[in-house]
Symmetry: D2
């Protein structure tokens, strides 16, 4: 063996076992009661040995709301690795007339040589022209089986294209992620609020009420059911959507749901903070009343929700303020988004596993295994199986950390979790047998990460 | 290694991998890309290597409806082993004034020396006296954490005791299985049918309508939710119950559901067969209209249903007829039950995996991993993890078999699946490293099986 | 005409019209733009002319919780008349071995010569013997088509009898009212609370949680649906039950729901009052968290709920305290009930119509028309139609009243609405053309009221 | 009195009474046990005296699908009167750049001098420009409080405008009717069907599946709930929509539902007829599988559905064929619509009242009272109340009729009900005291009908 991880508690989506892991040629080669004699040995006694996290919801180094997010692939992937994540699948958005392959290539260029995490892309479809439909089967053949649609923003998918895209993508072996908010109602409520002089972050949530997320999710589920399409509803904030998904899944619809740490941990009281402080919580959908958290955790535990993403979108607080002030102080001109790639796994472990809301196997399932499945990366990524990439995260369940912006690696100037105490923290992250972070120290060099060509999506 | 299984496709509840398995001292000792040099080697090339099945719903060698089921533990466990199952957890019912420990001991005596499968017991609680409540914590401490309640039959649990038992058992670390049918409505409908001269198997389903199962399941879920109790609703036949469970689970209720092959594969048209033929399908709940099957399969796939049992209850057809005729030809005097321990896994694989209704990992999850979890046997049983018992089933996905009573091993005189074609069949079954059945030939000796002392139940 | 009511706004369940009403021989003889020349004339200018209220949920002059309610038929009916009600249908409970006809006769005796309101009885079925089943069709033939069942108290209906009674009563043209609470869970929670030393009114609501009412209501609906039976779920306090009923009705189940002023106006904060004050709100089901009120009002408005009763149960506060203290201070030994017959209509008008929650036609429908239909009294009672009894209530929408125990006519020593301000109050109540109360002054003599023989129930 | 109707059974939405009715100056002046001495007397012995029908869903003398419907206002209103209807509220659609007032004026011109029924208009909003928003409050002030939106066809309302229009109209005292189908999914399915060579009427229903109606209805309900808007979902064909509306109403949403005879009486087997026969049933939404009928009838009875319309759209069968053949044989080029104004009430009475599915008061409520309320015409129209217009229909419950195209008065060449037997038929129809049809003979002269200026909508 090239590398042996000994004496840890090895956990997969279904197993918890005292075992050693042997790595050879960057792959998991053996899991056994005892493996001796590797070239290198890491002692994981007293620690969990998990599959490294797979993050499938980010906006890295791209332009949104007219400004470029400030974390490039090196910074982002370093943060990811400190947070236990070794694979990133990002959402690049094509420029006008740019092909999907074109934007994937462009972003591949941005990531290559920089990222220490392996990477891939779920391109955003932001126009609905024939060339896009022609390209989809080709992309899937080329190992890009996942696509993203929005029911909000200027590239809101029309109902016809929603049906056609879901059907086209699924029938060729792909899967669609959808941002579900009823844009029409939100825009109307925002206009009404503006007309009434209501501006500032405290109006963010009231103009994007729960009903708009529920309605859009319901719409997507109906269309998916009719067309037998596969769909992932991303960043669910509304408890009632969990019920919708649970029921749809129970009757055979191929719908999956994504949770996020900010909806699990934060609530809409953030918007009541003085001054512009509430802007730190301005994301879409907005943070919700506290009772939704219970439903989201129960959704994760029960399997109604399948995965957890972070929606890393590195807008500095000072830029949020600046853009708001220079764009007419419109509610909808506060850039939507917050950093989160480094805190996803620590929060999920501390708030989830430590507080007894989810089991340690469920933790693996939603942070690594299912995200990998949802983008066609499983079993290469997301698990500790013979033949899988040796992407491993060692987590010390006793390690206590206070989250601060200073302690994280993003270029932004805030974290929504400033001052949060977490217990249980990733200490070592390994990618294809190469140690990226060891005992909380960076070892990887820029550019370790590789572009991942993926398989077709399979329903699970 | 004592035993090496080579070249197979190893499948667990979360993994599918080309790997060898090494067994030492009756335990799984290694899973690796290649393991050489075991004392004994089995070549599994072209075959699946699964955890052996765990069966948690049987009525073996016990008295129900006033007659003793005709398969003793040897016969039953041999059938189980041919069908890929190596662990059986049975439902013994105490005699009048007999303690729960007493009936467990008595049945342990019946199984010991006979069973080739490892075994345990989920005692039926058929009286609601203080001694029972005193005994529950003791039994759980002694490794018997699962109990069974009925909402039908003479030992129907009163509502007060339902609440008290669910609370008592859960709070001590146990779990309750409940047979959910509204006894009052069924008895009234049966009396009304009898008064109208309606008798015979064709009246079995109409007097136990879907609503009675739905109502009782709903009741149990409400009580479980109120008391935060853990409950398994057994033998679900009604599609709408899947929806009830999915929703309850999604809001955090610790409720689990059990499917069964006869509800997944058969329907109520069985009762329209001429003469007494319909009696072969007389079980409770009754077989249902065909549209329920779709809901049950979707329930298994989505995780709304967690496990699959067989309800093996070996009443010969001739005795069903005899007892019906000698007991006033009452509908409710047809002994309820049918054999099924040997056909559970072949049917689940052929109708489920082969027809694309469930994945091969889901097959493992519901036939082995989750049943083991639901009775406190995981990870000793139900998976292929380092340190787990080497209970292994090798299944040949190409093997085609026509199910006939003659080809099975039960002492009954019928199978409800006579003439069914299945593709994919267990060929070798191993228990703690000992081969029970090899290449479809029995090798085990009576008495290989051991009584299993179990852990407390943990929600999952 | 014997009596003409002129210049008012006449309102029925479907009409609002400026019209005069002519009464002859105790019946409504004409409704017209103008009617001149009656023997007696009442000027209703500026006032509403409504059908007098029909009250179908009381416990008058009977023994419950081991003590007799303190309002006899004279006192109760005078209170009713001041509150705009001219018909009372009471729930008498048979003594041991007493027949249903026997208790009806006994209570008819108690009311005759005393009541100023017309009266009838919905006997409680508190045993489930063959004689009761024999009597039911006879009673229905004799004009007693309504019956009451309880799913709580010592006379809890077993599931078998629930089905049999619902089927028997419906098939003979009757209707069943059911008190829906899961007795088993409540008793268990009460025992558990007592064992933990939890006593006093603040434990009333926690030991009778929403789930117990929802579960029992769901059970009744399932049974009614299966048997196509007609059922009225009484005193609904739980918002989710409104949804259950709405859905059941929408799919064709003959289920009706009853609201009550205390659940519409009060909430469970009553139980937090110091000392024993909370006992004034001890009724079953308990008062609920405030959000249920919105659902109940919406239920009335939408037609999910059909009627409003008062559950008048005249236990003085001092006796509630006394019985609690002398019976071991058990939670379940606080007599359940409060007075309400006089305040039902003023509260419904003031909180409902005046606050815009229900229309004035809906007010008539739920306070008079539908209650009459639900006990087989329509169109004799409950409306202003040609040929109907001239039971008329004139309400002054501008009259403001502060509710106080002193201002009401009950023998109890409290009202749960002490100090409530209402706007809109009945000023004149007429029964069969005879003025009972005129301009808030009593005119009737004891014994005006007559026993009402009723028709079979018809679904509506 | 000018006119007295004697000896009939007078029925309103809430009453059934043996009474005479007196009419003076075109208004109901008296309802009494006996009215003697009118200028003219009609004997209604043995017959029902109902409010004349109010029809609020027609497409008369307008251009749809590129052709003008063939029944002008004279023909249509004569058919209506023979069918017991005396008021018609039509949906006119503005031409390009035409104002709403403009199209109302134009259609008023078409109806004036021709229609024998009183009439009004619910203009279709088919563009979403500022002038329309400016016009809405003016129209409502002018007595035009109802508007129509489509979620299908070229004038599909965008989500933003759906929200804005619902809010604008409701806040000014109006109400919106919405045609609910998900246009995007339907268009995609139609394109897919066409691409597969699927054409002809048998593809009408499969390309407009239930899910598209359910989804669009759900969307409208969510938006209405968020904005507290008042909305009527028209022509409901899908059983599950009844459940959606029942639940929404029960939680306080001001949503109403409209049933139609063709969805209550016909099913999608029509499309299986040979040749082009299926085109006779091509309407939108399409006819549905039979099980939906039960839900629709239950919806009417329970109040989940509030009204019944006919969607009279007089396209001759021969033109349906012609247009289909000359427009590329596209499924979506079969003109959608069928005649129905004359058969609405006979079918509702015969299939509803006679078959015991609804009561005779519910018949009045949904055919006259509620339609009048839903367009601001109540109490002028839709009831028999003092002061209301004397719009009266006398129906002979014993009269049996076989429906044939020949026997009806439309200019179309088919009726979807050819050969249907009905029992119970309107014999006399009166408008403002003037007999339009007497004993099945036309008496009215063209132009009797008047334009109706209406009140604001009030929730009920």
């Amino acid at each position: 063996m090239d590398l042996t991880i000994k004496n840890g508690t090895v956990v997969t989506a279904s197993e918890i076992m005292a075992a050693d892991i042997g790595v050879k040629d960057g792959k998991i080669a053996a899991i056994a009661a005892r493996i001796d004699g590797g070239a290198e040995t890491i002692d994981a006694a007293g620690k969990y040995v998990f599959p490294a996290g797979v993050e499938i919801h980010t906006h890295l180094d791209g332009i949104l709301h007219g400004m470029r997010t400030v974390d490039d692939w090196y910074v982002s992937s370093v943060g990811a690795a400190f947070g236990g994540t070794a694979t990133i699948v990002d959402f690049p958005m094509p420029a006008k007339d740019q092909s999907l392959q074109g934007i994937v290539d462009e972003f591949t260029g941005r990531a290559t040589g920089k990222s220490i995490a392996d990477f891939a892309f779920t391109p955003i479809i932001n126009r609905f022209t024939e060339d896009i439909y022609q390209e989809i089967p080709v992309l899937i053949d080329n190992g890009i089986p996942s696509f993203k649609l929005f029911m909000y923003y200027d590239w809101t998918v029309p109902d016809y294209e929603l049906a056609r895209l879901m059907d086209t993508i699924t029938s060729h072996g792909g899967i669609v992620s959808v941002h579900c908010e009823n844009a029409g109602t939100i825009d109307y409520l925002a206009d009404k609020a503006m007309a009434a002089g209501h501006t500032g972050p405290q109006w963010h949530a009231p103009t994007r009420p729960l009903s708009t997320e529920i309605e859009a999710s319901s719409r997507v589920i109906h269309v998916a059911e009719e067309l037998n399409a596969s769909v992932l509803i991303v960043h669910i904030s509304a408890g009632p959507v969990v019920d919708l998904i649970a029921r749809a899944r129970a009757r055979g619809v191929n719908v999956y749901g994504e949770a996020m740490p900010h909806y699990l941990c934060l609530d809409d009281s953030v918007y009541d903070r003085p001054g512009y402080e509430g802007m730190k919580g301005v994301c879409t959908p907005p943070l919700r009343p506290r009772e939704n958290q219970k439903a989201l955790w129960a959704g994760l535990r029960s399997g109604a929700l399948s995965t957890i993403g972070c929606d890393h979108c590195a807008f500095p607080y000072k830029d949020k303020i600046r853009l708001f002030e220079t764009r007419g102080k419109r509610i909808d001109m506060i850039p939507h988004g917050a950093p989160g790639i480094e805190t996803r796994i620590p929060l999920l472990f501390s708030e989830g596993v430590n507080r007894g809301r989810i089991s340690v196997t469920k933790f693996v399932e939603v942070s690594a295994t299912n995200p990998a499945k949802l983008v066609g990366l499983y079993p290469q990524k997301g698990t500790l199986a013979i033949g899988s990439d040796a992407d491993i995260m060692i987590l010390d369940p006793e390690k206590e950390v206070t989250i601060t912006q200073e302690g994280l690696h993003s270029n932004t100037d805030f974290t929504p979790y400033e001052g949060w105490q977490v217990k249980g923290y990733p200490v070592t992250t390994i990618s294809r047998g190469t140690v990226l972070v060891r005992d909380c120290q960076l070892e990887a060099e820029a550019g370790h990460g590789q572009f991942l060509k993926r398989k077709r999506f399979e329903v699970f």
